[in-house]
């Protein structure tokens, strides 16, 4: 009964979304306030209807109602509660429900907080947002309905893929979707602005927090996914340049560009057409990510439910929305009023370079991801594009970007002084030089690539710290004055400083891990010892145990350094009988500077077990760097001036103030 209720709510949501798409749009064209007013209650009702559908599906999972096909195929009565709930989005149908729920949530948020939005803009934004909802609700109801019944109901379910029964992956999809779908907001605002034919700083003030929120969620989502792949797959790596990973990385790159170009629109009223285009493309890449993952056109190390028909439907949505938006862009963009002028060497100029480089980086990832598809379709030749390709294309584009990241924030708006900025960068040079020497001294007998990587990270950190210190006049003024300046600094300034520092820390981790990772594979019997990176590891025992819905072998491995006890770790090898599938649970001993990563392979008492050990230097810095980026985003989002419901009318006055502040 409850499943039928969910199904009914979903159909209802589709109808509401249809009304929300058409009526406010017509009202805005006719300047009819009562018709435009339909958007707000419709957005609320649509959100509630989808929330009911989502709740109904969750209920079916929690109560293990195996008469629902979706539950029978993806759940099991013995599964822990957390994974019963996360199982809702651990499969295709449920994850699409989560997708539209988040889509409706964003529409609902605009309806609630957008009190100060100009009424026509608000009506149009909500209408565009609802049209995306129509497309995806239609997709769910036509091809992926999770509420279909099974008769007779099986006694028990087929369980969730054991690899997905993990806390990291329980929260990875919702985060990723918040990011993907969050960019729909930027898209809706962009299309609404094209319909209005007007973009002003106030528009950017609206787009920025939404884009920032989506960016934060996407950053967190990708980090969680990478972390999960690191400890769950048992391969010791954290990023494989796999198509599915790239699918989430491309919107992140272009979303990062959008974040920066929206600043230029807000503060300087320039780059308007470009920002609109970027908003459209970012959402297009999000949709493409959904398409690539859901259609199974690419061979990936990650596996998902695969259905060509569904892929075709999503492809149609992609073509319709992106094509439509781009045509509208081509028609309307030339009539946009040209904004504030600036010299090539200025903050704006720096942000333009940022955008160009990030776009090129997105393009290289795009080419590498889609080229195998293209070649297969045209010649039938099957190829794969792996890490060497991305190392040869993506990394060279990132180097100038990181170099510019230290300089850009030091340039003034409109007309910057490059030599003055360079003379302020002595600290960056010093830090970069110092770190390179130190790294070279540590690893003088090895290739120079990591030294270059660390030099870049030092340069970025030095430039970012110096810029912050100059802002609060640290060491040039009394400490108390600097502190009071620091208190008055807008939070978005803290946000930028933290995000850029986070990237610097991330670079250290990524460079160190790719250059100095070491791996040992042994066949070990109990009491056998091996050594890795100055540590000794001894396999003490391997025990057979029972988990809630799996059997397991748990090894006890003692790690010593110079004969002294450091820690004990417990890598596991689990077997899930329902899915007939083994998984490897790696054990990780982490210090702040490195991980020792132990994974237990197949084996027996007489033959010994395959034991793989990795020494992964600075890998915790990868997660720490990403977390700091997320933190920077959150602090920036909490900025009073960016607050989602911030008064609209004072926008222009504030822009002037900001301009002065930034120039000071």
């Amino acid at each position: 009964m409850i499943a039928e209720l969910g199904h009914y709510a979903l159909v209802l949501a589709l109808l509401i979304a249809l009304v929300q798409t058409t009526v406010p749009l017509y009202g805005a064209a006719k300047n009819d306030f009562s018709l435009m007013g339909v958007a707000q209650p419709a957005a609320t009702a649509q959100f509630i209807a989808i929330a009911i559908a989502f709740g109904a599906l969750t209920h079916a999972y929690v109560t293990s109602d195996f008469s629902v096909i979706n539950v029978a195929e993806n759940s099991h009565s013995l599964k822990p509660l957390l994974y019963k709930i996360s199982g809702v989005w651990g499969n295709h149908e449920g994850s699409m429900i989560l997708w539209v729920l988040i889509l409706a949530l964003f529409g609902f948020a605009v309806a609630q907080f957008g009190i100060h939005l100009p009424p026509t803009l608000k009506a149009r934004v909500l209408s565009v947002q609802a049209s995306i909802g129509v497309a995806f609700l239609g997709f769910i109801l036509l091809t992926s309905n999770p509420f279909l019944r099974l008769d007779p109901a099986p006694i028990d379910g087929r369980d969730l893929n054991p690899l997905l029964q993990d806390p990291g992956l329980a929260f990875h999809p919702p985060m990723l979707y918040l990011g993907y779908v969050g960019f729909s907001m930027a898209f809706s605002f962009a299309v609404a602005a094209l319909i209005e034919g007007r973009v002003d700083p106030a528009w950017a003030r609206w787009v920025r927090p939404w884009t920032l929120a989506a960016w934060i969620a996407l950053t967190a989502g990708i980090t969680l996914g990478s972390w999960w792949a690191y400890y769950e797959l048992g391969w010791g790596g954290w990023w494989y340049w796999d198509p599915v990973e790239n699918a989430s990385f491309m919107p992140w790159l272009s979303g990062t560009a959008l974040l920066h170009s929206a600043v230029v629109v807000e503060k300087r009223d320039a780059l308007k057409s470009w920002t609109i285009l970027l908003a459209i493309l970012t959402f297009a890449l999000s949709l493409m990510g959904t398409f690539l993952v859901r259609s199974g056109v690419l061979t990936s190390v990650h596996a998902f439910a695969v259905d060509p028909e569904r892929g075709l439907y999503i492809l149609a949505i992609l073509v319709l929305f992106v094509g439509g938006a781009l045509i509208m862009f081509a028609l309307r963009a030339p009539s946009m009023k040209l904004g504030g002028l600036f010299q090539p060497i200025s903050r704006e100029g720096g942000l333009v370079m940022n955008n160009l480089l990030l776009s090129v980086a997105t393009a290289t990832v795009f080419i590498g991801t889609l080229y195998p598809l293209f070649l297969d379709a045209t010649t039938g030749q099957k190829v794969s594009v792996g890490p060497p390709f991305f190392n040869a294309t993506f990394v060279p584009v990132m180097i100038p970007l990181v170099l510019l990241m230290a300089i850009g924030p030091m340039l003034a708006w409109k007309r910057g002084d490059l030599s003055a900025a360079m003379s302020r960068l002595w600290f960056a040079v010093a830090l970069s030089f110092g770190i390179s020497i130190f790294v070279f001294w540590l690893h003088s007998d090895e290739p120079l690539t990591p030294v270059i990587g660390f030099a870049l990270a030092g340069w970025l950190a030095g430039g970012t710290l110096k810029e912050f210190a100059d802002r609060i006049a640290l060491f040039r003024d009394q400490l108390s004055k600097s502190l009071s300046k620091a208190r008055r600094l807008p939070r978005s300034a803290y946000g930028m400083t933290l995000a850029h520092l986070g990237l610097s820390i991330f670079i250290c981790g990524a460079v160190a891990d790719s250059a100095w990772r070491t791996e040992v594979v042994i066949n070990a019997k109990e009491r056998n010892t091996t050594s890795i990176a100055g540590f000794e590891a001894e396999l003490e025992t391997v025990d057979r145990l029972e988990g809630p819905n799996y059997h397991l072998e748990r090894a006890t491995v003692v790690i010593r350094k110079n004969g002294e006890y450091v820690t004990r770790v417990f890598p596991e090898r689990r077997f899930y009988p329902v899915q007939q599938m083994p998984t490897t649970e790696a054990a990780i001993y982490t210090t702040f500077l490195a991980d020792i990563y132990v994974s237990l392979g197949e084996g027996s008492k007489d033959q010994g077990w395959t034991l793989r050990l990795w020494y992964n230097p600075l890998i915790p810095w990868i997660w720490a760097g990403c977390l700091i980026m997320v933190l920077g985003g959150l602090i920036s989002l909490s900025d009073r001036r960016l607050r989602i419901g911030a008064p609209f009318k004072r926008a222009h006055k504030k822009v002037k103030e900001n301009g002065l502040l930034e120039n000071a």
Binding site: T364, P388, V521, R612
Partner: protein, 147 residues
């Protein structure tokens, strides 16, 4: 600079960068593309033993052998017409099983495939797309609708 010239400079700069990216990509493709073959393809294709390739098919039943030290394994990849012996040092993926689809990446030296990586899928029902296609080509595909 007039706004028009400035815009032109921007567009020019953008095009230059896209050209640079394309050049980088094409250049990288030459060295980094990894081609995929089925065991049958390899009979009449000459491959460079120094260039990494991928081979896919089914793991032949009862072909999996473990070396005495327990670290190396050997098995045979087959597309049910022809087969290719593979050796691999390291831990096989969790879902590696005889009779299942698999993709190995490595070097073909004198008729023996020395694998550097072995990929199997997370989902046991799922067959790597390349493997399914090559089985279809050899006429031995009897798979379900999962692909």
């Amino acid at each position: 600079m007039t706004p028009k010239r400035r815009r032109l400079t921007m567009v020019g700069l953008g095009l230059l960068m896209i050209a640079a990216a394309t050049a980088l990509a094409l250049n990288a493709f030459e060295d980094t593309l990894v081609f995929f073959y089925s065991p049958t393809d390899l009979i009449d294709t000459k491959t460079n033993p120094k260039k990494q390739i991928r081979v896919g098919g089914l793991v032949e039943e009862k072909s999996l052998l473990k070396s005495n030290d327990g670290l190396s394994v050997s098995f045979t990849i087959t597309d049910l017409d022809n087969s290719l012996p593979v050796i691999f040092k390291g831990a096989l993926p969790d879902l590696f099983r005889e009779g299942q689809g698999v993709v190995a990446e490595g070097y073909l030296v004198g008729g023996l495939f020395q694998a550097k990586h072995v990929l199997a899928k997370h989902d046991e029902n799922y067959m790597p797309k390349e493997v399914a296609d090559s089985l279809k080509k050899s006429g031995k595909w009897k798979g379900g609708n999962k692909q």
